[in-house]
Amino acid sequence: MNTQPIRVLLVEDNELNRDMLSRRLTRAGFNVLTAIDGEEALILMRKVRPDVVLLDMNLPIKDGWTTAKEARLDPALQNLPIIALTAHAMESDRLQAIEAGCNDYATKPIDFPDLLQKIEEAVL
């Protein structure tokens, strides 16, 4: 059995949410890395190779959709599971996230047990 903690890259520009989610994920036993914008996220994806990426869509510098698309164009990141974090009311955001290449999505505010299940599915 693989006992290494699952490495999650959490990409979220809002510090309150980032701190909270990072804390909850850490408490749930994940190894959490955080990034604030899409550029930083892509750098971390390439360098750290997380097991799964939680990607907020509304990010500064480079938004989540562009980030996901760019990740899919990189052969090394093609199969990296990406879960989009989308604003609840924006159905179009979610569809665009899937179209941009995200494997799954979770709506904000995050339903934590649901998110855990999605992470588990994504890294299986």
Binding site: D19, R23, R27, V48, I61, A89, M90
Partner: protein, 528 residues
């Protein structure tokens, strides 16, 4: 209430269904399209009154925030007091909730964007849920209000597309690795530093930090001293042992009681320290100083790389003309080398193979080249051995100089010994030639001592370290008068030689273009 524009609702389309990621995870797309159906259906039902079709929310986020804050007021009082009844980790979680509520209050007090408020409510909800669901043995007086808080925040929230929040730029934003086993501290540091535009990576242990450092380029490491597993001091030690990481500035973080160890860490190479609980302004200042230091070190590194490139250039430029020893000397002491043009007292040596033109006319070209390369290769080795600089090969002729770019103080002696060694080596070369069916050759060598101009001569596109001057021409004239197997030294060379020479009878040459007669001596032997 945020306005909702139905035009932005994207209806399911064939193209979306065909997308490869959807075929990989069909359940995801099913969920998405079901949600969309629900959404568009609800939209139809409520197009009269303006109620968000999904959330059914009628109050605004600010009203909601106030409701939550009112509800949380008694809880906040408890959270602000002694929490020693619960374990340390739960204390941190409670503090995080406390802080999130304070943030929500602060945000609500200004003129907040809905996005900011909803994010703050989301954070409160997250902490409340975590405490409610994941904490074992939370006392009732905390559990009850927190459960109430969680459900008050657990209403479907609506959110508009977020405006891009601008990041305040620090003067020089950097990548900071914050290493601390306490999540609360990592959060605090992340929050403080992210605010000023730094990129913060966190690591929860020394092991993790060392792992991150392997893969990421970090400007400053904030390193907690006391951690389970690999402690801060050990991380520091390993970092300083690693040539790639040694230059990364490290700021140690610890409690006041660990001052002795902090001092030990600074002696071991830590750049700075901060005592807990640290002052945020001090943290920013020390990080800024650390980044500045890293930038300097990076520039220094670039400068060093530039020097290395220059060194490679010098090696490549001079390696063909100078022996390795001399290249090394120049590199070690570059200020002693004037390449721009310098008057130098040197001994010039010119040699050629007698009758080479007629030999080459009787041989196939490949054999000429083979013979010449054998000869020139051996001669080059000998010239380098005696510290000579080869100015030029002119067919079978070699023009070499002793005393430039560096004088050894016995350049004339070296030139004489070199000439004798070259002549002696011919026996061996001719033996090899004979075995290969090539003709044996004889050489003549001239030596002359005087002042020449040495420097990088040529055009910008093509230049080389070379020599010009009257004495170069004189050497060539002397060489014209030397017979086979003769070494003719000008009297200037004979005068410059320190050691003892066996000389033949002196001759006076009347060379073309040179007014006074040249006095030369055949050189037969040398003793130092």
């Amino acid at each position: 209430m945020a306005s909702f524009n139905p035009a932005v609702v994207m209806l399911p389309q064939g193209s979306a269904l065909d997308y490869p990621h959807n075929t990989l995870r069909p359940q995801v797309f099913r969920t998405a399209s079901t949600a969309l159906d629900r959404y568009t259906g609800a939209l139809k039902q409520c197009h009269d009154g303006w109620v968000d079709p999904v959330t059914q929310l009628t109050d605004t986020p600010i009203v909601w925030a106030r409701t939550i804050l009112e509800l949380a007021e008694p809880l906040q009082k408890v959270l602000g007091t002694d929490l020693s009844a619960v374990d340390a980790m739960t204390q941190q979680d409670l503090k995080a909730l406390h802080n999130a509520l304070i943030r929500l209050r602060d945000i609500s007090a200004t003129e907040p964007s809905e996005h900011d408020i909803l994010n703050a409510i989301g954070a409160v909800r997250g902490y409340a849920e975590m405490l409610k669901d994941d904490t074992v043995g939370l006392p009732d007086h905390l559990l009850q209000p927190i459960t109430a808080l969680a459900s008050a925040t657990h209403r479907e929230m609506q959110e508009t597309a977020a405006p891009f929040s601008p990041i305040m730029a620090a003067d020089s934003p950097g990548i900071i690795l914050a290493v601390d086993d306490m999540p609360e501290n990592r959060e605090l540091v992340s929050r403080l530093l992210a605010k000023t535009g730094h990129t913060v990576i966190t690591a929860a242990s020394g092991e993790e930090a060392l792992g991150v450092l392997q893969t990421r380029s970090v400007d400053v490491v904030l390193l907690d001293l006391m951690m389970p597993g690999i402690g801060g001091a050990e991380v520091l030690r390993q970092l300083k042992e690693n040539t790639d990481l040694r230059a990364t500035p490290v700021i140690m973080i610890s409690g006041r009681q660990d001052m002795d160890q902090i001092i030990a860490c600074i002696q071991a190479g830590a750049d700075d320290y901060l005592l807990k609980p640290f002052n945020p302004v001090l943290l920013q200042a020390r990080i800024a100083a650390g980044i500045e230091r890293k930038r300097w070190l990076d520039r220094e590194d670039q400068y060093r790389q530039q020097l290395e490139r220059n060194e490679r250039f010098i090696r490549a430029t001079f390696g063909r003309y100078l022996s390795d020893d001399i290249v090394e000397q120049i590199l070690e002491n570059p200020e002693g080398l004037e390449l721009g043009g310098d008057l130098k007292e040197v001994t010039i040596m010119m040699s050629d193979i007698r009758g080479f033109t007629s030999i080459s006319e009787h041989l196939p070209p490949q054999q000429v080249v083979a013979m010449l390369n054998r000869y020139l290769g051996r001669m080059t080795d000998i010239i380098f051995e005696f510290g000579g600089t080869i100015d030029e090969f002119l067919g079978d002729a070699i023009l070499a100089v002793f005393g430039a770019p560096k004088s050894t103080g016995q350049d004339a002696d070296n030139a004489v010994r070199c000439a004798l060694a070259m002549r002696a080596a011919l026996t061996e070369i001719n033996h090899a030639n004979t075995q290969d069916g090539l003709p044996a050759v004889d050489i003549a060598i001239a030596l002359n001592t005087g002042t020449v101009v040495a420097g990088n001569i040529g055009s910008e596109r093509r230049s080389k370290y070379g020599f010009v001057g009257h004495e170069m021409n004189v050497t060539s004239r002397i060489e014209g008068h030397a017979v086979a197997n003769e070494i003719l030294a000008a009297e200037s060379t004979v005068a410059a030689v320190i050691g003892q020479m066996n000389l033949g009878d002196k001759r006076a040459l009347q060379a073309k273009g040179i007014e006074s007669a040249l006095i030369v001596y055949p050189v037969e032997g040398y003793q130092s």
